[in-house]
Every structure is written in C-alpha cells, then in structure tokens.
C-alpha cells in the first residue's frame, strides 16, 4: 500500500517497455491485446486509488525515502485520483478505437501511447514543481511523436508549430522554476504553500514574477487566449485516437493551475495571494469569445470540435479564476464532462469521416453515411452534451459552474458568456449535423463497410456512455468533487506529509 501512488506511473512505463520488446516488433495483433490488457489493469488500479483516497484520505510516496521537504514526493489525493481515473478511461476507449486500424499507419503507436499515459499520470501525482516539469516533458515528447503518427503534410506542419511553441514554453517553465527556487528556497509544492505567507520582503517580487511566468506556461498547455492558436490546427489534423487522447492534455494545464495558483498562491499566501487571477478572469472570458468565433468559422468537424475544446477551456479557466472551493469543485466536474465528451466527439468524427470518402469531415454536400442511425445517435448525444442540453452531463456541468460564479458574485459576466457559448455551440453543431447527415447526394461510399469496424463504434459509444454515467452518478460525483476541492484548498502540511508516507491516515 505504501507504494500505491507510484504504481500509476510505473505501470504504463513497464507496459511500454514490454511492448517494445523485439518479439512484439512485427506482431501488431499481440501488441494490441497486451496494451489493451495493460490499460484495463490501469483502469482497475486507478479505480482502486480513487476509492482508497476517498476512504482513507491522501497517500504519499517518498522517492528514496527522503523526508519532506527534501525528497521528491508523489501524492495521490482525491483530486489526483479523479484525474487519473479520467485519463485511464479515456485512454482505454481511444486505444480501443485505434486498434481498429489507425495504429497500422506508423510504427511504435502502442509504446508511445503508454509513454504518454506515464507522463500524464506522473504530472497528476507529483508534488514537486521541478518533477512536474520533467513529467510535462515526458508527456510532451510522447505527444510530439503521437501527433505525427501516420505522417502527411498537414500533420507535419501542425507538429512543427506545436513542437517549437512547446519548446519555448519549456524554456519559460525552467526560467519560472529558477525564479521560484530563488524566491521560496524550495520547489516542493506543499512546502512552497507553507512558506508563501512568510516570504521576506525582497523575495515577493520574485515570487510574483515566477508565479506569473508559470501561469503563461500552464496557459500554453491549457490554450489560454493569446497562446491558443496552436490548438485547432494540431487537434484538427492529427489522427483520430490521438486527438481523442489529447482531449485530456489541455486539462493538464488547468490541473497545474489548481496545484500551483490555487494552493501556493491561495488565500493564505499573504502578499502574493490571488496572484494574476484578475488577468486570468479577463483572459478566460476572451478565450470563451475566441472559441465561439472559431466554432462559427470552422470548415471541418474536427476543427469545430477543437474550437469547442477552446470554449470548454475558457469555461474551466473562468471556474479557476473564481478562487473558491465551489469553483474548483465545479471545474472538476466540468473537466470530467468536457474531457469525455470531447474525446467521444473526436471518435464520432472519425467514424463519420471514414464513411464519407473524399469529403471526409468537411461541411460540404457529400455521399450519405452507411450507418446513419447509429452514427447519428452518437453524434446527437455528444452534441447535446457539449451544448449543455438536459439530460446530459454538459447541463449539470455548466449549471455547476454558473452556480459557483453566482456564489462568488461574478454572475454578471460569467452567465452571459457561458449561456451565449452554449447557443453558439448549438448553432455550429446543428449546422454541422444537418450538412453531415442530411445534405447528401449519390450512393454510399463502397469501401466504408471495410473501413468502419465494430471496435470504432465500441470506443466511441464507451465515451458517449460516460456522459450518461456522469449524469446518473452526478450526486456522489459532485459530493466527491466538493471534497476534493476542500482537500485542495486545505493543502497538506509537511509534518502531515511525513506521517502519510509512514502509512498513517491523516484527517
């Protein structure tokens, strides 16, 4: 049990190395089965971590058994557990979809997919700012390679922008860490939070500069307004299962904002409390508007989904900028909803574009779909969830965010933005759906029958079903997300951390 927080990082790592063994090199079917089994195991493990943290509170693992604040820590608290479980389920569905044929278009799909998960899980578990940087780099380098999986002009160009931009982002991350180390004298996040209130006078400007630089870095990851231009091209041109997995990548930025800006620069941080949150609320609103304009201007379904992701990021950033427990809880539920639904939507887009031949997912008159009913139902549920129509998860998610904004006294600007963004999504998606399903001519594409397989539908319907599950389990989920938000705001002291490592239950 002591090693539990380390396992979600180690399992994908060893799975990736296992799949890289020479015997698997030429045996794609075996790679698929083994990776799928490992992913199932990961879902089981993350569910166990989730239940365990809900019952027994956070668990921590000290690498090399160094005491806090000196060693590097992995902490699995309820917020991490939420994100771990979310990622594992999303990865399982995206991988199921990829097994139907997308993994044949390039080498090393399965190991890269697993390394990506290792980086994601690590970023969700680590309690050390520099270690967060390292896991960011792991997930980034895996995502660079996954992004160009399959090749092609569009993909190479998108990858070039994404890679160069993120490399500049990494340089900023390091500068920020250097500044923060100078200011705080530590990079252990709980320790930073403890020291933030008693910073000496001369360190306060440094702490502010470092914190704002980190906000830029996380803004790049989350696609905050001036740094969001990479997202539509990247998500719109990469292969479908990769785009579905990337639905969780923007949430890594949001999660890091919670960890650093909500905890370290939280209400108890004295001089540096609430750093940059006024700028963030403006930018979050502007991100929402930019996403709306992009959604109305999109020419293909994948670009439209990418712009809807920008809208959801804007909504999440609004919830972060509220700086309340209810805001974090609402953001957490909305994260679950938007990740599952965006992932599901990409998979549905993949199924649609395979059935339309040359027209792919462009909004032009084209041949009818081979499976209009099943595809249509999946599309309709995903669309209603994104727009925020009852009875699907988007409705509850948006309601939760708006409630939190009302309680924080920010309703006058948050409500119009969120409601109008729902309307814009409704317009864009009904226009898209009408063209894709009803404006047809000619006969069905003959090769669609071979291209679309049962696995595609299984992957997509699994994620669409998660939207329904989120509604059915909305009661306990909102309760748990409230508890996760309380835990996040309460933080964990260094002495408590050392006791948790010893296996004690800390209340």
């Amino acid at each position: 049990m002591m090693h539990l927080p380390g396992l979600p990082v180690l399992l994908p790592f060893f799975a990736a190395v296992f799949v890289l063994l020479p015997w698997f090199n030429t045996r794609l079917p075996q790679q698929r089965i083994v990776t799928q089994l490992f992913l199932l195991l990961l879902v089981a493990l993350c569910s166990f971590v989730f239940i365990d943290t809900l019952q027994n509170g956070p668990r921590a693992y000290a690498m090399g058994d160094w005491q806090a604040p000196f060693g590097i820590f992995l902490i699995a608290d309820s917020l991490s557990a939420f994100m771990l479980l979310l990622t594992a389920i999303l990865a399982l569905a995206a991988h199921l979809y990829a097994c139907a044929g997308e993994d044949e278009t390039g080498r090393f799909f399965h190991p890269l997919f697993l390394f990506q998960l290792m980086g994601l899980n690590g970023a969700f578990l680590t309690a050390d700012a520099f270690n967060l940087f390292v896991f960011f780099e792991i997930l980034l380098i895996a995502s660079y390679s996954l992004l160009i999986h399959g090749g092609g002009r569009e993909r190479t160009r998108a990858a070039q922008h994404y890679v160069l931009f993120n490399l500049i982002g990494s340089a900023f991350f390091l500068i920020a860490l250097a500044v923060l180390y100078r200011a705080f004298g530590t990079l252990n996040i709980p320790d930073m939070a403890a020291r933030a209130a008693q910073l000496p006078e001369e360190s306060i400007p440094l702490a502010k500069a470092g914190g704002l630089l980190l906000m830029v870095v996380f803004g790049i990851k989350a696609a905050l307004l001036p740094m969001h231009f990479w997202l539509p091209r990247t998500y719109g041109s990469t292969s479908i299962p990769v785009a579905a997995l990337f639905a969780v990548m923007t949430k890594v930025g949001i999660y890091s904002l919670w960890r650093i800006h909500t905890v370290v620069y939280g209400e108890n941080a004295g001089e540096v409390a609430g750093l940059g949150m006024d700028i963030l609320s403006w930018l979050a609103g502007a991100t929402l508007v930019a996403g709306m304009i992009g959604a109305l201007a999109s020419k293909t379904l994948r670009w439209l989904i990418a712009n809807l992701i920008i809208i959801s990021v804007g909504t999440l950033l609004v919830s972060v900028s509220l700086q309340t427990e209810a805001g974090v809880a609402a953001g957490l539920y909305y994260t679950l909803h938007s990740t599952f639904v965006s992932g599901a939507f990409f998979l549905v887009a993949g199924i649609i574009l395979m059935q339309r031949g040359q027209a792919e997912d462009r909004f032009v008159r084209s041949r009818p779909l081979l499976y209009p009913r099943l595809t249509g139902v999946l599309f309709a549920i995903a669309a209603m969830a994104v727009i925020g129509l009852p009875p699907f998860s988007g409705f509850i998610g948006k309601l939760f965010v708006m409630q939190a904004a009302y309680d924080a006294g920010q309703a006058h600007w948050v409500w119009p933005l969120i409601l109008v963004s729902g309307l814009v999504a409704l317009i864009a998606l009904s226009r898209a759906g009408t063209t894709l399903f009803w404006r047809t001519q000619g006969t069905v594409v003959p090769e669609a029958k071979e291209r679309v397989s049962r696995l595609h539908f299984m992957g997509a319907s699994m994620l669409v079903a998660m939207s329904v599950v989120l509604v059915i389990a909305a009661g306990p989920l909102t309760e748990w997300s409230m508890r996760a938000a309380q835990d996040l705001h309460a933080g964990i002291s260094i002495s408590a951390l050392n006791r948790v490592v010893e296996g004690e239950v800390v209340e």
Partner: protein
C-alpha cells in the same frame, strides 16, 4: 561576477529571440538551442553564485547550493533530447513541405532560389548538388 554572468545570459537570450523571430526552421532550432543554454545558466545561478565553497556539508556557514546543479543536469539532458527531436522534425518538414518556412509557405526569394537551383541542375544533370532534398 554577478554582472558578467547576467550580461552573458541576457546577450544569449537576446540572440536567441532574434533567431527565433525569423521564419526559417533552422534558425529557430538554433535560437532554441541558444535559449536552452541561457536558461541552463540562469537556472544554475538560482542557488546563488559562490566560488571555492563546499557543496552543502562543511564547517562554516557558506556553501554552494547543490540543488540547482542537479536541476541543470536534468534540464540539459531533456534539452538535448528536445533539440534533437526538433531538428529531425525540421528536416522532415523540409522534405514534406518543400521549404523551410515555419508556416510551410515559401517566400518569394525562396521560390526564386529554388528555380535557379533547378535550372542549374537541368544544365548539369550529372552533378546533382549533395545534401539537398527533392
């Protein structure tokens, strides 16, 4: 020492920003490399600059902080890997897109240069210039 150190870092960052603002992938990769050197130096300085001091444990209160050194070591390794990847990607993009502009669209001077290159090749087909793609 602090002054020279900070001027060095500043000049390097300035050069790297200049290189990165150009549209060619090669100069951007060069700029990123320079930037990562500058960032590593900056990170190294975050523990405070001290000469002839023991690393953490000795008599007396003065010591040089070993943690930034460990951080720099990690950052160097990661920086190498990332630069290598960016270079390979730049070469791939040069082959796929036909030019080394970041947005994939060749400028007029590039088109002209390619044309001249092509004419030269046509006049002397037995001597293709080495190292050029396409």
């Amino acid at each position: 020492m602090e002054l020279i150190y900070s001027i060095t870092v500043g000049v390097m960052v300035g050069c790297s920003v200049f290189l990165m603002l150009r549209g060619h992938t090669f100069s951007i990769v060069m700029g990123l490399t320079l930037m990562s050197y500058a960032v590593n130096l900056f990170l190294f300085a975050s523990g405070g600059l001290a000469t002839h001091e023991p690393a953490i444990l000795a008599d007396g209160s003065e010591y040089s902080d070993p943690l930034p050194q460990a951080l720099v070591l990690t950052a160097i390794v990661i920086g190498f890997a990332m630069t290598a990847f960016a270079l390979i990607l730049a070469i791939r993009a040069r082959a796929d897109l036909g030019n080394d502009q970041v947005d994939g669209r060749a400028s007029e001077s590039d088109v002209l240069a390619n044309k001249l290159e092509g004419e030269k090749l046509r006049q002397s087909p037995e001597k293709p210039s080495g190292g050029k793609y396409r």
